[in-house]
Symmetry: C3
Subunit: 270 residues, 3 copies
């Protein structure tokens, strides 16, 4: 098989909408609203909860746990650990978005700690962030990466093997790899980087797909392809980022399995 068939991706999308998985997000303040709206538009059920008093119970209700360190602080990191341990016991997937890893030591160390203490299924970030998580001196500036992610296939694979997880290194082309099999997702649009929270949203969507699937590698590739394709559709006939964001929610809501053949562009890396 040279790729993931559009039909397979369509089936995942249908299953997601039927099951409407509860995705527990412990995420940053900037994107809480936008992440919730992205998940609702797609057909998933978002919940945000960070109190030590309830994260275990909430994670226990969820089909996926998404941890995002975009505006981290110590109490939130402890909550992530607690929720993650429940996710582990319940065997639901944990997605880690190491926002800004490499930019500050606190973010880098926290991302590494979460990867060490929790059985993360998918690590989704840009090239600089992923490399920082693996101890490679990256080029993170603030929360944006300066690295062309295509140069980084080998490194993504090595990191996936070392950490025994699925790595989703997103950029112009998204690299999704478990260290053995690697997919290149070529969907997406430059306008996605002109609105805040699309990276975080992609991690949440990965959470939703992994929450209803059983193969993090193909679930992640499917999630990123659908999100990128929705972004392409949303960028048609727009004046700027305001209209784009509104369209992006609409496209995630409207997208149907029959739209996917000819729409999603996933290649298996030789």
């Amino acid at each position: 098989m040279r790729t993931i068939q559009a039909e397979v991706i369509g089936n995942k999308l249908e299953a997601l909408r039927k099951q409407s998985p509860l995705v527990h997000n412990i995420t940053n303040y900037v994107v809480m609203n936008s992440t919730a709206n992205i998940l609702l538009s797609l057909g998933a059920s978002p919940v945000m909860a960070h109190a030590l008093e309830e994260v275990e119970e909430m994670a226990g209700l969820a089909q996926a746990l998404v941890l995002n360190i975009g505006t981290l602080s110590p109490a939130w990191v402890e909550a992530m650990i607690l929720a993650g341990k429940t996710a582990h016991k319940k065997n639901i997937p944990i997605i880690l978005d190491p926002v800004g890893a490499g930019a500050t030591s606190y973010r880098t160390e926290t991302a590494k700690r979460l990867l060490t203490e929790l059985p993360v299924s998918v690590l989704r970030g840009n090239a600089g962030e992923i490399m920082a998580c693996a101890g490679v001196q990256g080029q993170t500036r603030g929360v944006d990466s300066q690295t062309d992610s295509l140069d980084a296939i080998d490194q993504a694979q090595a990191i996936a093997r070392e950490l025994k997880i699925t790595v989703a290194m997103t950029g112009k082309t998204d690299i999704v790899t478990n260290g053995e099999t690697t997919y290149l997702v070529k969907n997406g649009h430059p306008m996605m980087s002109r609105v805040t929270g699309t990276g975080c949203a992609s991690s949440a969507i990965v959470g939703a797909f992994c929450g209803i699937g059983d193969d993090p590698l193909s679930d992640t590739a499917a999630a990123l392809a659908i999100f990128g394709f929705a972004g392409e559709c949303a960028a048609i006939h727009i004046d700027g980022p305001g209209q784009f964001w509104s369209n992006l929610l609409d496209e995630l809501y409207k997208i149907r399995p029959s739209d996917l053949p000819g729409g999603v562009r996933i290649e298996k890396h030789a």
Copy 2:
């Protein structure tokens, strides 16, 4: 009188825009921005403040206090209690939105504690949340209810009587009752559940109307009818939730008393 006349609701709306009540929200991170925009679009003045150092003073400036436990944590709960005590002294209405009560013990217990320690005027939630507040085993899943709220009129009335408050149990039909008189608000649109924070926004709008009125029962029914009607108007000619949200703000801004006859649908329950 078989219902609340559209003219009465129109008068409330005019009064709200004239007075632009300051609504102090101690609410969740997800909906702070959207709640502020909803209130501004309608013509009210939102303020968010949660520090123990200032909540009493801020509540002292407000015409209504809206407490929302959507992303609660201990310090925020203490702030809610403090602000609520000021609201009590000043005799301004307190609206409680028990987001996710029933989903975790912490939320259920916190909602109950707020109801016990503060003279809440209006409890606004979905059926599962309201029942959890009253100790009824509900069916809350995450922050979404699975109960058809129409089945719950008797329970809503019983809870209102027991707690001596106005209960607004929202769903396909909204039940607004003080235990003696009950209104059924039949406005609204399914798309409202495809954007985050519409429930929270409805609580804030209830706060704005109660802040300028003196009858929580009819003020709450009016608020929910206007919000639901705006939702119906916003759902015309849309592609999805992105456009819907933008339209919803526009409709709240544009809605005029003369639009209400034939628009708002409130029935008095026999």
Copy 3:
């Protein structure tokens, strides 16, 4: 020179887009998302970080630091001080937005403390907030000012001289003064006060312009003129605040130096 030439403002805009300055925001929960989107639309790079563990390092990466007390609490204030000291060492501009100063003692005292302990470059607020920062009994109500800012030119100048900073007192006409030279920025649209966070967004834009410039006075006037002009363009053909917000992001994205002559309206005050 009777004003700041449109060409000069256009050059600043071009420089901003070329350099895409990293603007470190320690801001309130309500506007984190909207502020990030405003900065991205304009062409700057936002980052939000508030943990004591990382604010020094993050401020050290930034070209400007924007402090906003809209939902302050003690730990955040300490973070502002820490980040501000790094900004001072690095000689990057600090912009202070004293949201709600005058409404509660905690906000007033915090704003004063930040002004005392940090070398703030620009103080951006409405008339009531600015006067509260200077110990003048203002008329702040919640987070909205009731003062006509044009009456306040003398006071703005006196405050700028006393604090040795640039004061940007925004309202129908924006007063930008370092105590010696004063510009009146006459751009803007009433609809800007019907969406939340435009004041906060203006402070962030001031941060972006100051981050790439070396003259806080003209950088601030340019920032406010461009933002106000974008607001005017965004208000054409709209139904309400929802469409306005979307347009505002689009206009900031589309605005070109060639649009500025005849668009920006800055007068030098005699």
